[in-house]
């Protein structure tokens, strides 16, 4: 029934998009690497009123028979039918029997960095030639027309952090995206939102994927090497900051090479891309996402981060069950997961499933993420599993909405149904965390997004006739 309601709106959007850019017309199902059509999220005139639904506001509880008003791309009112007056002329979207909630946020993905995992030419997930690469910006690789993006938002995910893969200690800086927009720049909400850092097994050289063995190893091939190299890099950047802060005509000059040996520091220029990139993080202006799996790795990495007063968001911790109280004592947000990481031998089967709940119980601001591309659409079920294994429902909803928004500095713009926030809103036919639920409509920046993907086009082309 809701579907019918949206048909006309879809048609309007399609013709608009077609007139604007002709992209929809090009998008054949059969093309191997078709470019997903872009969706213009410039808000139209007038007010949209989503009425009659069950609102999961995140910040102020559940409102049955609620109303959400959207205007100019923003949420302009949220409340019960009795308390919110729907203006004359508003486009009414009947959400009776539906659940309405803020767009979900996947706090770590490779969306736009990888199309077909097996084909190197379609992958820009990490630069492996050096370990310390803070000057790598994922936005330089972000492919806004990735087919995975519409497929992800089809399940109600409207925002994501795009991060490089975890096989460098400092692989680069993350971007925070909207999952729709007329072009790449519109989709990039925050270009450099955080610095990715990793510690432990994955960034080792001569380890994973490089044959291993003493003969094949390169530096750093141990945890000692990783920390030592990172420490040197941050010391170099601090020195660089100090030198740049000194008045011109001081003791520095062409004779003093830029610390860190970075590219861009050659010749007479003191400007160094690598050191520059680290400055906002050394100043604590932006967060670093610090990835570690094992308890002892978390402790080592946090000691290191403390030395440099980094503003930390911890990540992974799926084998850190032995240090949960300690993690709580850091008072930092924690991206847990993926929750589907396997427990080790001789651990109870639910030792990872129960981790978000255990951390939340200890007062940790828990965030869940897919750490994936094609599985990003399954993000809500991660939160559902957290509920099944002990996390309160409201907290699980927060872990994929408000908590990631706040941790990445967008708490005033995203993550809840509140007046003044960006109108990223989802309408679904049931509990968003249940695998049986279908999303009926996604709004991004107050614009109804066509619920169409490369996959729905294939579905519709081949749907059984009988």
């Amino acid at each position: 029934m809701l579907r019918n309601l949206f048909v006309d709106r879809f048609a309007a959007i399609r013709s608009l998009a077609a007139a604007g850019s002709l992209v929809l017309g090009f998008c054949g199902v059969t093309g191997v690497l078709a470019q997903a059509p872009m969706v213009d999220t410039t808000p139209g005139p007038g007010t949209i009123a989503i009425t009659g639904g069950k609102l999961l506001t995140i910040t102020h509880g559940v409102i049955e028979n609620g109303v959400v008003l959207i205007e100019g791309g923003k949420i302009t009112a949220v409340g019960s039918a009795a308390s919110v007056k729907v203006p004359k002329g508003a486009t009414i979207v009947d959400a009776k029997g539906m659940t309405v909630y803020p767009g979900l946020i996947d706090a770590e993905t490779r969306l736009g960095l990888s199309e077909i995992a097996s084909d190197r030419m379609t992958n820009d997930t990490v630069e492996p030639s050096e370990e310390i690469f803070p000057q790598m910006h994922v936005y330089d690789a972000f492919h806004a027309e990735s087919e995975h993006i519409p497929i992800t938002r089809f399940n109600g995910i409207t925002n994501a952090v795009v991060a490089p893969a975890n096989t460098d200690t400092i692989p680069g800086q993350d971007s925070f995206i909207q999952l729709a927009g007329r072009d790449r720049d519109t989709m990039l909400m925050v270009r450099d939102v955080a610095l990715a850092m990793n510690f432990g097994e994955a960034p080792k050289r001569g380890g994973r994927g490089e044959g291993g063995g003493a003969g094949g190893a390169r530096y750093p091939s141990t945890r000692m090497g990783e920390i030592s190299q990172m420490r040197q890099a941050l010391l170099d950047a601090q020195e660089y900051m100090a030198r740049r802060a000194r008045p011109a005509g001081g003791d520095e000059g062409a004779a003093a090479p830029a610390a860190g040996g970075g590219r861009g520091g050659a010749g007479g220029s003191n400007f160094n891309l690598r050191n520059e990139a680290l400055i906002p993080y050394l100043k604590g202006e932006k967060p670093v996402v610090l990835g570690a799996y094992d308890g002892h790795d978390v402790e080592t990495a946090m000691e290191f981060a403390k030395d440099f007063h980094l503003k930390v968001i911890l990540s992974h911790v799926t084998r850190a069950q032995d240090v949960l109280d300690k993690i709580a004592s850091y008072h930092v947000p924690v991206i847990v997961g993926p929750i589907f990481d396997l427990p080790e031998a001789n651990e109870r089967f639910d030792s990872v499933y129960s981790l978000p709940g255990e951390l939340q119980k200890r007062g940790v601001k828990v965030i869940l993420a897919s750490y994936n591309v094609s599985n990003s659409r399954n993000l809500p079920y991660s939160a559902g599993f957290a509920v099944a294994y002990g996390m309160p429902y409201d907290e699980a909803m927060k872990s994929i909405t408000l908590n990631p928004a706040e941790a990445f500095g967008l708490g005033d713009k995203l993550g809840s149904l509140d007046t003044g926030k960006i109108a990223n809103v989802v309408i679904a036919d049931g509990d968003p965390l249940d695998v049986r639920t279908s999303v009926k409509q996604v709004y991004i920046n107050g614009v109804a997004i066509p619920m169409e993907t490369r996959q729905t086009r294939l579905r519709d082309e081949y749907w059984p006739k009988k």
Binding site: V32, R110, E115, I116, A117, S118, D119, E147, H148, A165, N166, E201, A202, R208, Y293, D294, G295, H296, D297, R319, A320, Q321, D322, F340, D341, L342, E344, A345, N346, E347, R348, F349, D350, S370, Y371, N372, V373, S374, N375, R377, N378, Y381, G384, F385, V387, A388, Y389, L433, D434, V435, R436, T437, S438, Q455, L458, R459, Y462, W463, P464, K466
Partner: protein
């Protein structure tokens, strides 16, 4: 493939171990009569019974219905508010085979017996058991056009290797086509490096097998007719296995993604006179479902996995339901030590993607995989006479919030989540890590797809 990570949480692991020791050493004998009552019973073969009961007698299902006529002395489990299903069955797993999944030294290796690699203490078996999985088909990998012969197990974690084998299960053999054999041998500049090469290798194997079969058929005929001077032909394990395929003695399980390849495989099967039991992965089945349904071949597919390589690019999550509507027998499978733990939720997604009924969804992870493995006469549904392979769930098993509370195999309790420690009833000692599909980060989650 293996990637071992130094373990730090030894303290907590040991604590868990100690706590569970008290639960060890219980007898493996099931009660003669066990009745699970007041549950929502999803039978997988004849719908769902509200407030129903299941009666197990000497390890077999003796009654299913609103009431059952169990004897007064039966052990009773009150499952008020809970759900009961047949045990979950995974028709595509590489668990418990360590690093020995692929004998990738030749594209045709049909004499490889996966039982020779089976490690019955692998933690993946335990984690699957805790997800309600009672049977698995442990398959060779997809490097070879014709791989090895599978093991069919009952997931009686804690019992011996022999006790975990599914009694009298038919033999299955794994085939593969498409990108994996191409990649494995092509990168070594060996045959096959193309799809033409793939199928040439396959046809040549069956030509050789025809000759071998004839030699033996002739020999056996002469022996039967009393000819005492006939010389016994050379016995070749590889050709013997291939000849058994031609004789219809093996269920053929083919890793295959693309619609055109299903058609090629069916044509080759017809040419050489064998049947294909199931296409595995089968992401493009929705394009040719009607044709394949007519051939009587089933599928074991992923729910929503797609895009990892070119032949997965047209994978859509509606594939299972669309293929089912075309008449194909559809099973969901894991190919993953992760997904095997939550196949019930994978089935739940089929309600979302395509509108399967809840009964249809349950069948995709119970009765249909049992058929693919050729054990549907013994397990896969709650019907009188079948094995007592039963799971009690806290809520509807298709919900995200479902947890397996009790898992019975042949009427015997093997997992009980209310127990401290592992929740196992027959396991003691030390579990082994998994070599395959260990899932460290994003891209390694799946098995041998």
């Amino acid at each position: 493939m293996s990637f071992s990570i130094p373990r730090s949480a030894l303290v907590s692991a040991c604590a868990v171990l100690t706590a569970s020791v008290s639960g060890f050493g219980q007898s493996s004998t099931a009660p003669a009569d066990l009745v699970i009552k007041n549950a929502t019973v999803m039978t997988a073969s004849h719908g769902t019974i509200q407030h129903g009961s299941v009666w197990l007698h000497n390890g077999k299902i003796a009654g299913v219905g609103a009431t059952v006529s169990a004897p007064a002395g039966a052990t009773v489990v009150d499952a008020t508010g809970k759900y009961v299903t047949p045990g979950i069955i995974d028709p595509h797993s590489h668990s418990a085979l360590g690093d020995d999944v692929n004998e990738a030294t030749s594209p045709v290796t049909p004499s490889m017996m996966m039982i020779d690699a089976f490690d019955n203490r692998d933690k993946a078996l335990y984690q699957a058991l805790a997800g309600g999985v009672t049977s698995e088909l442990l398959l060779h990998g997809s490097a070879n056009m014709i791989g090895g012969q599978a093991v069919v197990i009952k997931n009686k974690f804690g019992l011996s290797k022999e006790e975990m084998l599914f009694p009298n299960a038919p033999r299955s053999i794994k085939f593969a086509s498409g990108e994996n054999p191409k990649r494995v041998y092509g990168t070594r500049n060996q045959l096959p490096s193309t799809r033409m090469g793939n199928f040439e290798v396959m046809r040549q194997s069956f030509e050789d097998a025809k000759v071998y079969r004839k030699e033996w058929d002739d020999y056996n005929a002469k022996v039967a007719s009393g000819d005492k001077n006939v010389r016994m032909p050379h016995r070749d394990l590889k050709l013997e296995a291939l000849a058994d395929i031609l004789r219809g003695k093996l269920l053929v399980q083919i890793h295959c993604y693309r619609a055109d390849e299903f058609l090629t495989e069916e044509a080759i099967a017809q040419e050489y006179g064998f049947k294909i039991r199931a296409f595995h992965h089968a992401l493009e089945m929705y394009k040719v479902g009607g044709k394949i349904a007519a051939d009587g071949t089933g599928i074991a597919t992923f729910t929503d996995w797609y895009g990892g390589k070119y032949e997965m690019w047209d994978g859509i999550p509606w594939n299972a339901v669309m293929s089912m509507r075309e008449g194909v027998r559809v099973a969901l499978k894991s190919d993953s030590n992760d997904h095997i733990r939550r196949l019930n939720q994978e089935a739940g997604k089929m309600v979302h993607y395509g509108g399967a009924t809840e009964d249809e969804a349950i069948t995709m992870v119970t009765l249909n995989p049992a058929w693919i493995m050729g054990i549907d006469d013994k397990t896969g549904s709650l019907d009188v006479g079948k094995d007592g392979d039963v799971v009690i769930w806290n809520v509807n098993p298709l919900s995200t919030y479902a947890r397996a509370e009790k898992v019975y195999i042949d009427g015997d309790l093997f997992f009980d989540s209310s127990l401290p420690g592992f929740g196992t009833t027959h396991f003691s000692g030390v579990m082994h890590g998994s070599g395959f599909g260990a899932g460290e980060d994003d891209d390694d989650e799946q098995g041998d797809n």
